[in-house]
Symmetry: C4
Subunit: 206 residues, 4 copies
Amino acid sequence: MDRSRLEAFSDGVFAVAITLLALNITVEGPGHGRLQHQLWEHRWSFAAYLLSFFVIGIIWVNHHVLIKSIALVDRTLLFLNLVLLLFVVLIPFSTATAAEYLPVGGPDVKVAMAMYSAVFLGMSIGFSSIFEWTLHGDHRTVPLYSEAHWPARLRFVGGSGVYVVSFVVSLFNATIAFILIALVALYYIVERTPASPAAPESPPDQ
Amino acid sequence: MDRSRLEAFSDGVFAVAITLLALNITVEGPGHGRLQHQLWEHRWSFAAYLLSFFVIGIIWVNHHVLIKSIALVDRTLLFLNLVLLLFVVLIPFSTATAAEYLPVGGPDVKVAMAMYSAVFLGMSIGFSSIFEWTLHGDHRTVPLYSEAHWPARLRFVGGSGVYVVSFVVSLFNATIAFILIALVALYYIVERTPASPAAPESPPDQ
Amino acid sequence: MDRSRLEAFSDGVFAVAITLLALNITVEGPGHGRLQHQLWEHRWSFAAYLLSFFVIGIIWVNHHVLIKSIALVDRTLLFLNLVLLLFVVLIPFSTATAAEYLPVGGPDVKVAMAMYSAVFLGMSIGFSSIFEWTLHGDHRTVPLYSEAHWPARLRFVGGSGVYVVSFVVSLFNATIAFILIALVALYYIVERTPASPAAPESPPDQ
Amino acid sequence: MDRSRLEAFSDGVFAVAITLLALNITVEGPGHGRLQHQLWEHRWSFAAYLLSFFVIGIIWVNHHVLIKSIALVDRTLLFLNLVLLLFVVLIPFSTATAAEYLPVGGPDVKVAMAMYSAVFLGMSIGFSSIFEWTLHGDHRTVPLYSEAHWPARLRFVGGSGVYVVSFVVSLFNATIAFILIALVALYYIVERTPASPAAPESPPDQ
C-alpha cells in the first residue's frame, strides 16, 4: 500500500476539520443588537478558532514530515493514523464548546477546557503512536531518527506532555490552560529548528 | 481512465463524510444544565460516532487495497463506486438518527437501528459489487485473488452478511445489534492477516 | 499550469457538494411522531438526494473524460471550470428546496423545480463551454473528438437541452420535470457507449 | 518537504470553503410566504455568494501559479500558507454576515462590509507574504519574477491595496465597497495577461 492515499485521505480530513472550525462563528441577523457588540461577545470564539486552527496546522506540518519518512505503510499504521484523525475530527466540537463556556466561567468552563485539552491529548497520543511505530523494524526509509532519535521524540511526543499539563491546569483555571496551549502553539510556529534535513527537492521529479 | 482521480474523489467523499459525523455531537450553551450531565446524556452520540468512524475507516482501508489491484477503470466500475459512495454519504444521517433514538428505546429505536444497519448493508453491497466486477475479464492487474479468491471474497463480501444479521437483530433488540456491529468492526481492526501481499514500496518511485 | 491541481480542486468541490447533499436529510428527535412516519414524510428528500447524487456523479465522470483530453490548461479554462463549479456548489441548496416543496404542490413547487432545473442547466452550460473551448486551437492533446466530434458534442452538450426542457416542463408540472431529469440520469448511467477510447493503463506508470 | 501535499491540503481547504459558501443560502419551507418572494429577499445572499466564490476562485488560480514557481518548501512557507488559509476559512462567515446586513442598511452594514473587506485583506496579505518570501534566497525554481518582478508584485500584492480601499469605503457606503470589490474581481477574471509563461505541458510526464 502506498503512502499517497494515506496522505490524500489525511489531508482531506485535516482540510475539512480546519474549515469546519469557522462554522462555529456566527452572528445573529439584524435586530439582535449592534453588530460590533455581537462580534465582541464572540471574542472567545475568534480566539478559540485561531488557536485550534494553528494546533491543527502544526499537527498537519508534523504529520507531513513524519509520514514522508515512512517506508512501509501497513495496516497497523493505517489504524494508528485513524486514531489520530478520530481526535482531529472532534476538534471543531471541543473548540465550539470551549468558546461557548469560556466567557461564562464557573465549574462548566473547567469541564469544557478539560475536554478541549483531552481531545488535543488524544490527537497527540495518536501522533506519538505513529512515531513510535516507525521506529520499529523496517518502517523507516529515511535514516532520520535512527541513531539519536531523542530530540525528534521529544519534539513529536512532547506535545502529549503539554496537553496532560493543560488538562490538569484546566481543572483549576480554564483561562490559564488556554493561554498555556496558545504559548506552546506559538513556540512551535516560531522555532526554526528543522525537524527534517531540508534538502531542496528537484521539481522535475515531482 | 486512470485510477488516480477515482481514488482522489473517493478519498474526498470518505474524508468529508467521516468529518461530518462529528457535526452531530453538540452541547447546548451555558444555562442548559451542567456540562458534564449534557456530555453524559450524549454518551450514545459519542459511541455511535466512534463506531461509524471506524466502520468508514475500515471500508476506506479495504477500498484502498481493492482499487489498487484494478487494472482497468471503466464506466461500470465508476458507477459501482458511486453506489458505494451513495451509502457512505448517508452514514452521518443514519448515525445521528441512531444516536438520538438509542437512549430512548421503544419501537422507534428498532427502526433507527434497522436503518443504521441498512445503510452499512448498502455500502457493503456496493463494495462487494466492485470486488465481484474486478474478478471478471481483464479488470485485475495484480494476480491477487486469481486462483484462490475465496478467502478474499469471504473477507470483502462477509461484511454484507454481518449487516443482514444486524438488520434482523435490530428489529428485536437495537442495543444488541449495535454491539454486534461494534464487535465485527473491532475484529477487522485487530486482525492482522494481510489482505494484500505487503511489498515494501520503493519511495523514489512514488 | 498542470492539469493535476485543476483535477484536485474540482474533485474536492465535487466531493464536498455530493456529501453536503445528505445534510438536508434529517429527522426530528424522539417525541415528534413515529420514526417510520417521519421517514415516509421525507420520501421526497430521499428521492431528490438520490437524483442529485447521480447527476453530480455523472458530471464528475464526464469531467474526468473531458479534462483528461486537454493538453493546455490556460486561465480561460480555469475560469470556465469555475463557472461549472459555481453551479455544482448550488446543487445542495436547490435540492433541499425542491425536496421541501415537492410534497406540497401548488405554485411554489413549480418555482422550486424551475430553480432545480436552472442550477443543473447552469452546470451543464459551464461543462459545455469547457468542451467547446477544448475544440479550439491547441487545447486538445488526445485526438478524441477531432474529426467527427458531433457524437461527443451531442453527448456532452445534450444535457443542456434536457435541462431547458425540464425547466419549461416544471412551470406546468413539477413532478413530471423531476421524472424527466431522473430518466435522463438513468440513461446516462446504463448506456455503455464509451466516451473515450478505453485503453488499459499500465499501472507502474501511474 | 515536497510541494504536492502543500497543494493538496490547500486545495482541500479552498474546495471546502468555496462549497460552504452556499450553505448560507437557505429558504424557509412551505408556509413562510411565496417562494419567489423569499428568493428575491435573498438576492444579496446570491450576490455575496457569487462575489466570494470568484474571489476564492481567483486566489486559488494565483496560488497555483505562485506555488508552482517555488523550489524549496520550508517551514516558514508552510506557516505563511496557513495564514492565507486562516482567512480563506473565515470567508463563508464574513460573506454570510455581509449578506444578512446588506439589505438592511444602517451603521451595522458598514461594520459587516468592513469585516468582509478585512477578511479579504488578511487573505491578500497572507498571499503577498508568500510571494515576498519566494523572492528571497533559493526559494524560487522558475526564473519567473527574477529580474523584473515588479509587474508580478503589482499583480499579486495589488489586491491588498484594493481591500484597504474597500475597507475604508465601507465605513462610508457599504454598497459602493461591495461594487468596488466586484469590479476588481471582474477585472482579474477577464484580463488575459498570462501571469506565468504558459508552456504546454507534456501529458505523459504527468
